[in-house]
Amino acid sequence: MKTGRLVYLFMPAAILMAFLYAPPAAGLGEASRIVYFHVPLAWGSVLAFAVSGILSIRYLFGSNGSEAMLDMKAHHSAGIGLTFTVLAIISGSIWAKMSWGSYWNWDPRETSIVILLLIYISYFALYGVMSDNGNRGRISSVYLILVMVVVPFFIFVVPRVYPSLHPDPIINAEKKMNMDMKMRMTLLVSAVSFTLLYVYFMGMRNRLMGIEKKIDEKIENRREI
């Protein structure tokens, strides 16, 4: 929770570094600065989806009593991941317009992110319609685990198999980072900032959930009295 508050320091630093410290990229010019928001947003969404999958595994297979409410936490993480994904798509579309002349090109990476988005929208639809079902936690957790298995395929495999408008991945087949040192530093600070933002959001949502639970317990206790 306290770690998340570091976002108040890191995010302004990342913004200032993106515009003032990092140099423009060859061929892309100043428009390349979107990379310091687009890539960390995509990273944040992958992180959030991975965490939701891990929490779901713990919910299904945990046996020491600590698994209570983990399905809710997984739900929160998936929600933040979905928000980050939508923002990554918006920032990517703006960049695509500037670089390729069109907001949407059905590039393999763009197509796979839309499929991923649809998969997670389906999860929220599934979660929403099962509000009265006692097995909601288990069913939604199974869904999130299955999705977690599929996510790497869409994010890391498909864009590398088919020809893409996107540049080589930052860490490519040569295992070499084709990036200027200042750019690398800025991207790192930005990635840390968005990770902290995710941690902060997640912490707040979980704390709100804890408050709700406590209020419910107090109401129950009063009824019993």
Binding site: M11, F19, A26, W104, G128, S164, I211
Partner: protein, 121 residues
Amino acid sequence: MNKLSMAMAFCLLLAGSIVPRGNPSPDGNIAAIAPQYSLVYAGEKDIPIAGDSSKKDDVDDVKNGVDGGMENGGNGGMENGGDGVLYRVMAIVLVIWMGLALYLFRMDRKIVKLEKDLNER
């Protein structure tokens, strides 16, 4: 939430069917028409510093409606941050962040207060 999800899915499908595919390639190989670039510093000679308005062609392209100002190999008028565009964009991003940060900070304080109240009762 499920209604919202369905609405989002519908909007996505609609957008997918409406948005035209950019840069069509005759043989369908999109890699062939991809611009050649990498995230490597262009060098001082190629990219003038922000605020330098000596390179106006891209800005003019945008004003004249030429496809994103890309026709001259530029970047939609942002090549040199002409007329301080770069600083304006940075200021807007900072203002958005400050608004979000203020909202988050206030919400955090309210949660802390709620937690304290609940623990005291």
